[in-house]
Subunit: 419 residues, 2 copies
């Protein structure tokens, strides 16, 4: 099946945003064995948009449109697609009810009249409910065997809709030709280029399964994907590679569960041990704690935490004045005392601390911008780590959070092993 | 001038990489007053690539091609462009010498034969030297007044080449025809569709200047752009629209400075007033404080803050046991006491608190998921707000942070006005 992606939005043509949707959809299509031959971006102009959809329908079997489904007059994708397909728009009562319900539960109590436009659907289309916004997606099967999908532009609406509603339909359309079976091996505390170097030989010799790495700040995900007749064969093909990765990366691997984030994994370890945790954050200013609280149920293990940005706040928490004077706020000693003080103040079994220089100012020759000390206190035992991160303020803080989670994970693993 | 960007590369169609070149070039074109109407991505396939270039030449005056200029057999952009233009490829001796010199200075001492392919140029083209690789760029002016530019795909080759060699030529082509002058009006505490409804008439009647809205969670940016002979005329055209927006949106507008974030604006207000601030966060778990600490220099105004996730932590900070029992942790009364207690514990002039139900669990009929109370205490005066946010856990927390910053901003503005 040949596919074409059409992204709609003047903000893309003005370069205000990067087109990450095209990348996401391309990746998903590739995994399904669908060949994306063209990606086209066009603005909110009905004439040009209709023409682009007509061209796409001429040369591709599957056309996925994203964006331009909003409530404003600029949003013309529904209208243009209907025109290109020669179909009418009709109001969908189910969607109208969903929009009403959305606004009832929202802070914007009044529905502006243009919101009703979003209840219009192309006749005969399958309606894809939007759980994160008001614009529904649409799936149209044309008389001549072509498929047109309209999806909302915001990634937080598009991605869940694609995963839960579009993928099953597309898999069905591509069905009977085998299946993709994949494992995600998730690593932390290692950079992408180091991880790649360690498995260069595996990457170079890959045919089936294939191995692909995806890097985030301080995290690397390795996807092992086999094309197989069935799940059984898929498992047989992928497992030896996963075992090899386990051997090479050891404790860098925190999970094989694709949907498990590092913070969810750490919360899980705490729950398993029956431990509570606290934090004392300086340069990260609450980001570390904020990330743990991403996880539903974090309240089981996290009762309170502290942002101790100034020296006086560190002292009030319990860091000794002498330590701050002798070693400075950014030091292994201060980090250790911060962690211990946070645990004691919160009455927690464990605590992590972060103290560092995120920049742009505050660096010295001995402690340049990017210098970060992390400490983890667990029931009387304290571990401390020193880092020199490269990047701007946001990057240094992001990496600090990442490595603090990793440090906590490793300390909890040790506890688990001694049990 | 109407432009079209053509990105060449199968890695884009497979979703292996994000197309940041299209964004960069779109932004540059917009700044020059060149209208990008289409962005197209196509793979390394000569047939399809040639067809895409022909279509682009039909409907656009300027076609910028990126990628596919490398030495391998997959790299076909030069060949396809020559074919679409009906022009021949000839070897450029200057480029051949540059390739020889490049390899002399490189770690790869031997030149593989296919490298000479990169010395082939379209007849009549201006050659753009590549200071960061072997593939030169090409600038072709066709007989019928069209312009075709071929640029290498790697951003570290493309961007320097564009800045130093392409920009001057394009500026010349657009020369004498004026400049773009724009204002960004940044709003918070209002949704996009409400904001658009309030200026529907202005959007509908826009010609020059144009008005465009850009939405983020709880924020809307409105860009007013005039095409003018010079800055003077640009200001004269845009200012009346900006004044009208000020009249309509009042205190929703927090800044006219494009690069100023809401958190930077709030830090600026605190610095102006000479105030310090603290926080007590429950469901946001540190995200609010983390966002303020994004701003370099936040340490001037923020000394310490508290994550009080559990009731016991709220009590330890200073919330009365009775209040928690009588009204519950998620209530206006608790929010007020949290803010006051945070200010007192930190010795700060102001403090903000957040307490709410981010979900997915914990909702009741009276207090459903998304219920959030925000309070702001400033030197003895406390304001409290009640919200019902819609969305998943991450969305509720993100909106809580956004509206907490807005509440703090409004309270500080009041202080400023009474001074």
């Amino acid at each position: 099946m040949i596919a074409e992606l059409v992204s709609v939005g003047t903000e893309l043509l003005l370069g205000n945003i990067v087109n990450t949707n095209a990348r996401y959809l391309s990746e998903q299509c590739a995994a399904l064995g669908i060949h994306v031959y063209y990606q086209v971006t066009v603005g909110d102009n009905e004439e040009r948009l209709t023409q682009v959809i007509r061209t796409a329908l001429d040369r591709s079997q599957l056309v996925i449109l994203t964006g331009g489904l909003g409530p404003t007059e600029d949003d013309l994708t529904r209208e243009a697609a209907a025109r290109a397909l020669g179909l009418r728009l009709t109001e969908d009562s189910h969607t109208r009810e969903r929009i009403e319900a959305y606004f009832r539960n929202s802070i914007h109590k009044t529905i502006s009249p243009n919101n009703w436009k979003q209840a219009l659907v192309i006749e005969g289309a399958e309606v894809l409910d939007n759980d994160n916004g008001t614009a529904p997606g649409l799936f149209v099967h044309t008389g001549n065997g072509k498929h047109v999908i309209l999806l909302p532009g915001p990634p937080n609406e598009l991605i869940p809709m694609f995963r839960t509603q579009v993928l099953p339909i597309l898999s069905g359309l591509c069905g009977g030709k085998g299946t993709l079976y994949s494992y995600m091996v998730k690593l932390c505390g290692i950079g992408e280029s180091m991880a790649e170097t360690m498995i260069r030989d595996l990457i170079d010799s890959q045919i089936n399964p294939t191995i692909a790495t995806y890097a985030k700040s301080g995290e690397v995900d390795i996807r092992v994907t086999a094309f197989a007749q069935d799940e059984e064969e898929g498992r047989r093909l992928t497992l030896p590679v996963v075992e090899e990765l386990k051997k090479r990366f050891g404790d860098h691997i925190y999970t094989l569960r694709e949907e498990e984030t590092l913070e969810a994994h750490v919360i899980g370890l705490l729950q398993e041990l029956g431990f509570t945790v606290s934090m004392a954050e300086s340069c990260t200013g609450g980001l570390l704690c904020g990330r743990l609280v991403n996880v539903p149920g974090a309240s089981d293990v996290l009762k309170s935490a502290f942002v101790t940005y100034a020296n006086e706040a560190k002292e009030r928490l319990g860091v000794r004045h002498d330590t701050l004077v002798t070693y400075g706020a950014v030091s292994a000693q201060t980090a250790e005392e911060m962690a211990e003080a946070a645990a004691k103040a919160a009455g927690a079994d464990a605590a992590v601390s972060v103290t560092g220089i995120a920049g742009p100012d505050g660096g010295t020759k001995e402690k340049p911008v990017g210098t970060v000390y992390l400490a983890c206190w667990v029931r009387g035992t304290v571990s401390v780590k020193h880092f020199l991160f490269h990047g701007n303020r946001a990057k240094v803080r992001e990496l600090s959070v990442q490595y603090a989670l990793d440090l906590l994970r490793r300390c909890l693993l040790e506890q688990k092993r001694t049990l």
